[in-house]
Symmetry: D2
Subunit: 313 residues, 4 copies
């Protein structure tokens, strides 16, 4: 299988490098708009410990909303299932930054992966500390998961989000009116914007995601989360990880995944692989155009969809 | 494993028979409201050809919306991916009979498992014929899938739905205004209401669902749908099969599933099992209260969640 | 003033006959789409018994939703303020044929002038009879109000609406599901479509509206409705008479008014005038383009806005 | 008439002082929640220069949203009809603090009297200055209109609103994301909260509103706004002045009016009267319970509804 996987990844890289329609780089965060659309990288960490990479797998990019997976993991560690009193677990049926649903459901966001839900998660993770404490904790967590200390925040991106983050300010204030944001809005968003501005490479991201393919265990043997919690985070990624295109991603790719507006996607095949792809151009749903195509191709070639019978190794 | 599965199923039956809170039997279809809440049945058809049953696994019940899975399969056979021009593939974020979304999205239902989407599918399946032709085709399909000719329609239930089906009349007329229902509304709903009034036992239903665990193949070797289509139907069941509680079902059970207001649920574990449970009392989301709990317990005991690493046989 | 009014009306007719942008004739009812856009008529019936007309004031057109004013008057006569248990009195904030609001407010339409509300009014007016009885009553009422027996229904238009009335079918069935339509939907819509297909000239319509300027009295001295009811119908026309452009009509024209998709508008200046204008081209809000401009000009020249100090006769 | 009016007002005061159901004092602004519900005051300034008062007509209360009428007048003076590029003129169909509509209409509030619209108006009035400059201008304007220099801001109320104003923060930030709020949100809301915290008595408020009954003129002969603009402000008060109960207020009272959450209502009868009532208990729609009843009674007794033929003096 390993040789095969190497071939498949090489084929995908070749295809993507020749792609004409690369989508459109996110423009609403000025710093991100500067990234060139030609990039493509992929990294596949397998359950048996291999790493297959292709393209610019070691170039860092802004992980943006992919950070919500790790933030959720931390928040569940802090407050457990009480989190679900403040955040739902259902697909939203609306855009990632919609505020309509909040009004209809009394300030309870539909899931932890839309912006409103991630802001509540950031509020939980703040737990009375200053933003830098929460951000430090997040960085340490990612470095441990990836086994790589070279993960940091791009302060220019964080500042860029702060300057343009009026819709997130609206969401946070709105939930504060319902007492579902409990720290000062500025502190919560300070932590949130810095978390989104973390930069990682495909390789680092694939490594960081391994606990989700390994039933909650770090490859070093340590338990990150219980099997039940790992399974549930994967379920949330599948149903809610691509905003209002989550159904389409499940339909086409068939893997739990979480996308970010920086063009990255983390996808998990339980028991098989933790995969990161990156290409900054986005499709109409706000997810990486080539990243989605690459995962669809990978799923098709490997048979790694969770909706198919498991393939033999 | 077979012995284990027998024990697990027996334990589940015992637990469910002692359950206090059995939910509430659907009341909006008069005929269904007559069903007593104490029933519970389960049937598990495994990929290696076993059948493990418990409780009232051979009692027939109204499959209701579970029929949407088979209707979708037929419609995809007729028009292929053109179906997706008329129906979306995203969770709805609203109730099963909501009409709001249709107005916001120009008469295109969000997915084939909400009522509006299933009515479009029924319109496709009618394909110029009388309702009895479409219904005959559906019955033949189910009898073939289950290997059992003793599957029929409860005409009293069909009549009961027709009499109370004003919201479905509204949905169908609304979509007709957008030319997304093309046959006369009365014919489409005639077919739709009869399809929902099909009665099957858990055993029959689990048998009928086997092609979805077997990558699209009938156990007799015949191909029902392509592997890709089977995978995609499973994905739709996972993201949209439980209306606005699909996220919660994925979170708790972790299997593609489709519920019906008659209290049945069909759940698929690709490569492993096709499972049917039935208990007529519904939870607040309109899905079988005990059926959901039974599947959660089964998933937990067997490790059959699609969000966990595949377990060895 | 009479001379002045004659001059003003003549000026308005001249202006409108030279207008370039005449809006767009309604296309969704096939029979109405056949009407040529160049027509313009106006008739002003004053409180002191004069009639000033201009343009094609004696040509009949389809009064469409203007009929809702007279239907409301009849329904209030039948059930009094109990009507308000089934219909609201607030502007809708949505399009005339929206169904969204009905779902959010449990099948209670926001006001009697949006389609859903008018269908409930038609249901009230049916009061157990066949549609032809209700339609006969409506025609007799209009003939009495206008003092003119030559008012009839255009059956081709009625048939045209029936054939294309899927959204109204959806609205009626939806409200029937909430028991807010109580007769068979076909009968209610039969009456409703025929009521909309009544044809009247500007002259007839201005005459028919006189009771609303005369505190509820027919010029012959008979009481049509109480002063309080006349006042309230005028208030509803002001706040809800132009669908989601009612605010703009009040802002620009300042008279209670009701528009129809046939291009007619009935406007009332309490104590002063009952005015009908007609030009079939509609603006973006679905109200007569030239009709609205003509009333704005008339209001400006006469000072007849209800939001200004009353002018001396 | 003057004697009659005195009697009518006296009767109304007597009725209201004996009222059992006085509604509920607003609780979401802590300072306002301290006001006792037993208060009632009324002041009627007539076009011929009389002033008839009753109850606690000289007690100051927080004018809250009534300030939006004067703020709108100032903003129209600054930018004229360009204001309407940034704010609509239609009733909202939703609650005063709803954010849903903003998302559906790209950050353009439906009218200047819902909170979102008033925040845009405050942004216009800020026009590059510090909040204290804009607030000073507003106070000078009100003192001139009322002919009374003793009008001031209750700083405790302003501070109370700032502390609890998370929903307004959400609205302002949301519109800032659409560039429909252009000054820093803190400054705009600073001005807005202070404007709402102005305290006036019924007498002062009725005096301040006289220009709206006098076709735009101050009784001293100066022109405050053009007749056309006065008429249009009255129209907006009628269609949008009582949030989602504007239709009901028009139906029952029949006067352009603007309510505030402090329990005040300013109502205008063009050519006749400028009226202020105050009673702090609110009805379910958030408008003064007794204030609304008092105006309904006044309208009924005087015949001052704009939807009736004008009464003789």
């Amino acid at each position: 299988m390993a040789d095969d996987l190497t071939d498949i990844v090489a084929d995908i890289v070749a295809t993507m490098q020749g792609a004409q329609d690369r989508g459109r780089v996110a423009h609403y965060i000025p710093e991100l708009a500067k990234v060139a659309p030609h990039h493509f990288g992929i990294a596949v960490a397998t359950a048996d410990g291999q790493m297959v990479t292709g393209g610019e797998a070691d170039l860092r990019f802004s992980i943006q909303s992919i950070s919500k997976v790790f933030a959720l993991t931390l928040a569940l560690g802090k407050v457990g299932d009480q989190l679900w009193d403040r955040v739902g677990r259902e697909p939203s049926g609306t855009a990632f930054n919609s505020i309509v649903q909040l009004e209809h459901e009394q300030g309870i966001p539909r899931n932890p992966f839309i912006n409103a839900g991630a802001i509540v998660v950031a509020d939980v993770n703040l737990s009375g500390h200053q933003p830098r404490v929460a951000i430090g904790e997040m960085l340490r967590f990612l470095r441990y998961l990836a086994g790589d200390d070279d993960i940091a925040i791009n302060e220019a991106v964080a500042a860029s989000e702060t300057a343009s983050g009026f819709r997130n300010m609206a969401l946070a204030n709105y939930m504060r009116a319902f007492d579902n944001v409990r720290h000062p809005v500025e502190l919560v968003l300070g932590a949130y914007f810095h978390q989104c501005a973390i930069e990682m490479s495909c390789r680092q991201l694939a490594l960081a995601g391994r606990y989700l393919m390994l039933d909650g265990r770090h490859p070093d043997g340590g338990r990150v989360v219980s099997p039940r919690r790992a399974r549930r985070i994967n379920a949330l990624m599948l149903t809610c990880g691509h905003y209002d295109a989550s159904g389409d991603f499940a339909f086409r790719v068939g893997m739990p995944g979480k996308s970010g507006v920086g063009g990255g996607i983390l996808a998990i095949v339980p028991g098989r692989a933790s995969i990161a792809v990156w290409s900054p151009g986005l499709n109409a749903s706000g997810n990486s155009q080539l990243g989605t195509l690459a995962l669809e191709e990978l799923s098709s070639r490997t048979g790694w969809s969770i909706f198919s019978p498991p393939v033999a190794r």
